[in-house]
Amino acid sequence: MAERLLLANIVMLNSIAFYILAVITLAGAVAALTLRNLVHCALCVAASFAGIALIYLQLDAEFVGFAQILVYIGAVAILVLFTVLLTRGTEVQAGVAFLSRSWPAGLAVTALVFAAIAAPILLTPELHKLAADSASAPVRKIGEELMGNYVLPLEVIGLLLTSALLGAVVIAMQDKKD
């Protein structure tokens, strides 16, 4: 009984963790897209990414969670930060609108999109019936899948990353003339 209670507590705690993490993530995202200082934005988005990584962990997808941390926080967020610094995004220009002129239209469209996504979710009763078993995606199994069924996409991704790396270098490289 105590064990069940413990389990129930753990489950409850698990749910509570999700809500906390969701709030953090959303808050980071909102902050990242509303703050004026781009450095702050970059830091907020890193927080947001971290939140998502923790949600992955909470959903028992450890490998994905860690990959998220490594890639998004370790690479993308840092990259964004560098970019901001390289483009003098730190200098907040006073008096210049930070939103585009057509932001009301954007807001309206966003609302519509949200409605279009949320409405099917809420109107689909089957989704409520799904229950989560205790499960995990073992790293071993992922590795086997990558080397087996998904070997071709893996290669392609490797190629893509290599070319993206080169491309990014070439694009960002300063022209000799300048």
Binding site: V11, T25, S48, V64, L86, S100, G106, K141, I171
Partner: protein, 102 residues
């Protein structure tokens, strides 16, 4: 146990926040960040459906892994473009970038 819909609603919210940011902010870096957030929202959906569906089939996880890799590549190229454009135009304002105008 948290119902799947909550995850989905959360993911939708995150997606819309990213979408709104990409649409409404003038700064190109923030547009990219918005897009990253949208990708993350999609990834979360994959994971959530995997968790609440057949956990033996790990294709959701695999998709997420590939998606993360692509997102990394996208971020690298996108930010390199931002730097290149900035170098040429000395600006990051999205509404100034209209060379593709027909």
């Amino acid at each position: 146990m948290t119902p799947l819909t909550h995850y989905l609603i959360f993911s939708a919210l995150l997606f819309c926040i990213g979408f709104a940011g990409a649409m409404m902010r003038r700064n190109a870096i923030l547009v990219l960040i918005g897009i990253e957030l949208m990708l993350n929202a999609a990834n979360l959906n994959f994971i959530a459906f995997w968790r609440y569906g057949n956990t033996e089939a790990i294709s959701g996880v695999m998709f997420t892994i590939f998606s993360i890799a692509i997102a990394a590549a996208e971020a690298a190229v996108g930010l390199a473009l931002v730097i290149a454009i900035y170098r040429h135009r000395r600006t990051m304002q999205m509404d100034k970038f209209d060379t593709l105008k027909g």
